[in-house]
């Protein structure tokens, strides 16, 4: 039984199967779940995290990791809200600042990573602390207001489909194309798989790694726009814990923390498994405390079932 389950889940698209099963169970078991309004809500609620997790997927495939993205989102939310202060005219600036901050911090992370040659976990962990401190030195309470356009992007639909879901699809497609159909993508997989071999093969490992961090930062920028729109205000703790949720989704989706392998589709599916589960548990009126326990169990069980096959390597 365990073998059947683990091979079903261990297969490349196991997480998608799990998503399908979860959706089916929810639609059948919970009357309110299948309503268009609720499904739209679920999509909107998960879109930002999915975009963030896509960026994290790229960085993990490259053999790195980025713990600073949560606080980066917080910084972006605070600064864009304070800058825009509710004015539509400031929207383009808000978007530019969000993307600029995201890419900029990513660039700093990438450059420092190449320069200092410390483990990216430690580097981005330190950066996370620096960003958090920066946010709270800037403000200790909610500031500003996002513009109506931001709010629209995060909450509204076009012909019944949420804009944020469309944005997510676009980002996912671009990421998939980048990773699987370009030379850059092949190089990213190579660097993550074995950096030494990649270097000897003539791949410019340094710039590739910088780009991976920039992509991670950019994904935080786009996600930050949606989060800001969702909240409507610059809440300093906006991104707390997002980086861990993103990493969990990436691993659940089948990407290996060691680098060199990974799937955008798997990541997005994993984010939605967790989002659907959260929504379903709310609709089932399960106590929030039990929800926390269930989320933890999902993570532990899923990685146990989803392990890579035993190889000769220790």
């Amino acid at each position: 039984m365990r073998n059947a389950a683990s091979s079903a889940l261990g297969s490349r698209y196991g997480i998608v199967v799990l998503l399908g099963a979860t959706l089916l169970a929810a639609v059948i078991g919970i009357p309110e779940f299948g309503s268009l309004g609720n499904l739209t809500n679920v999509a909107i609620q998960s879109a930002a995290m999915a975009i963030l997790a896509i960026g994290q997927t790229v960085v993990i495939i490259a053999g790195l990791i980025d713990l600073s993205v949560g606080m980066l989102i917080g910084l972006i939310v605070v600064i864009t809200s304070d800058l825009m202060n509710g004015q539509s005219a400031m929207t383009p600036i808000g978007i530019l600042v969000a993307l600029g901050l995201g890419a900029g911090v990513g660039l700093i992370n990438g450059t420092l990573n190449n320069l200092l040659r410390i483990h990216p976990l430690i580097l981005t962990f330190g950066m996370m602390s620096v960003l958090q401190g920066t946010i709270f030195v800037y403000t200790d309470r909610s500031v500003g207001r996002t513009s109506p356009e931001f709010v629209w992007m995060a909450n509204e639909t076009i012909a019944g489909v949420p804009f944020s879901a469309i944005l997510l699809a676009a980002v996912a497609l671009m990421a998939y194309f980048l990773l699987n159909r370009t030379r850059f993508g092949r190089h990213v997989y190579a660097v993550g798989g074995n950096e030494e071999h990649a270097r000897r093969a003539g791949i410019a490992t340094g710039p590739i790694k910088v780009w991976a961090f920039v992509i991670s930062g950019l994904s935080a920028g786009i996600a930050g726009i949606l989060v800001a729109g969702r909240l409507g205000t610059g809440y300093p703790n906006a991104g707390v814990g997002f980086e861990l949720d993103a990493i969990v989704a990436v691993v659940l989706g089948g990407t290996s923390l060691a680098g060199g392998r990974g799937s955008i589709l798997g990541t997005v599916a994993a984010v939605f498994v967790l989002g659907v589960a959260s929504n379903a548990l709310n609709l089932l009126e399960i106590s929030s405390f039990v929800q926390i326990l269930i989320k933890g169990l999902i993570v532990v069980i899923a990685i146990l079932l989803n392990q890579p096959k035993r190889t000769a390597l220790a």
């Binding site: 309110e32 309503s35 309004g37 609720n38 809500n41 609620q45 930002a48 200790d140 309470r141 909610s142 207001r145 709010v151 909450n155 989060v227 969702r230 909240l231 409507g232 205000t233 809440y235 703790n237 906006a238 707390v240 814990g241 959260s278 929504n279 709310n282 609709l283 009126e285 106590s287 929030s288 405390f289 926390i292």
Partner: protein, 350 residues
């Protein structure tokens, strides 16, 4: 002639600027009281039973809100027409609270009681609820004036802060150096308490405010901050701390530094750990922060569902408990993280 006019103008301007901010604070209070007194036309919300109540908790990791929730559930049990109380917990995540409110609306609740992680963050979600004819009631915070909040069952934080400040200054004999321990920055509680403190300080020029700190209603954090302050300032006479949960952390830090003799504690609230401390040390007292606001909020909501006209702001008054009387309220066999309340035993948290 011109010079005299100019001088008078300058003096008036200076007086105006000096009085301005405090006048503005006074104006804010007056405005708030006017707005709270406004009537809500609840005919739009009139609905016949049975009723499903939704509670969107910004957080449940705090004993005060756990008690408030128990009050809500107790009150609900007294009304046959209420079939269900659905509770969601956002665990301090404002984006989750937005999602929770949306989910409650999906579940078809007739009324939403809530306490926010962040007021502004959930405005959009609350608006979706009111647009569907679901009244929303801010429970236990300050008074909120917004089209997405139908009414507030609130505790007047300014009044609470004022009562606490006056007691403290009286106990200090009108002069001394104090610091303030406030809750989460930006919340109505923190803003109003500090404003009240400063307003009362005007009547007591001998009082000096060394620092305003934000302990986030967290005993351990308040203790850590106090340890830092004790090290920074060699002489502290008093502490303004209306939240008992933090007061006990502050008091322990001062005690461990051996400086309890030099410091006077202000009244806290009816947090059990604090009441126990007051009983043992015979100083401090309490100004209540009643958890029964949960019951009052639900009753207010029911009146709106029946179509009755109500006021936008329902104020639950705070009472002063002297150090001597505090002993009667402290429940020694209950945990520190507990509140003196009017809940029947069966409904108290397990």
């Amino acid at each position: 002639m011109k010079k005299i006019i100019g001088l008078i103008a300058a003096i008036t301007l200076a007086l105006g600027m000096w009085a301005g901010p405090s006048a503005a604070a006074e104006d804010d209070r007056v405005l708030q009281e006017q707005r709270a007194a406004e009537l809500v036309d609840a005919s739009a919300f009139k609905k016949s039973g049975p009723y499903k109540i939704g509670v969107s908790a910004g957080y449940l990791g705090n004993s005060w809100v756990v008690f408030a929730l128990q009050h809500i559930k107790y009150e609900a049990s007294l009304h046959e027409e209420i079939t269900d109380v659905l509770t969601t917990d956002a665990a301090f995540n404002p984006a989750k609270q937005v999602a929770d409110i949306e989910d409650l609306v999906s579940k078809g609740v007739d009324l939403i009681l809530y306490w926010p992680v962040d007021d502004k963050a959930i405005e959009g979600a609350l608006k979706k609820a009111t647009d569907k004819g679901i009244p929303t009631i801010n429970t236990g915070g300050g008074y909120v004036h917004s089209p997405s909040v139908t009414a507030s069952a609130f505790i007047d934080q300014w009044n609470l802060g004022e009562m606490v400040a006056r007691r403290l200054f009286q106990d200090l004999g009108g002069k001394g150096k104090i610091f303030a321990m406030l809750p989460i920055a930006g919340t109505t509680a923190a803003v109003d308490q500090l404003a009240a403190l400063k307003a009362v300080m005007k009547e007591y020029p001998g009082i000096e405010l060394l620092s305003a700190e934000y302990g986030d209603w967290n005993r351990a954090k308040a203790k850590q901050i106090t340890e830092n302050l004790l090290q920074k300032y060699s002489h502290i006479d008093g502490v303004f701390s209306p939240a008992g949960q933090m007061s006990i952390g502050v008091a322990e830090a001062i005690d461990e530094a051996g400086r309890l003799g030099e410091v006077t504690m202000s009244p806290g609230d009816e947090y059990n750990g604090w009441l126990k401390w007051v009983r043992d040390h015979k100083q401090g007292g309490a100004v209540t922060f009643p958890t029964r606001v949960g019951q009052e909020a639900l009753r207010l909501g029911l009146r709106m569902l029946r179509g009755e006209t109500v006021r936008r702001g329902l104020r639950i008054p705070s009472e002063y408990i002297s150090p001597g009387a505090a002993g009667a309220y402290a429940e020694m066999d209950r945990p520190d993280d507990w509140w003196a309340s009017t809940l029947p035993d069966a409904w108290k948290p397990k």
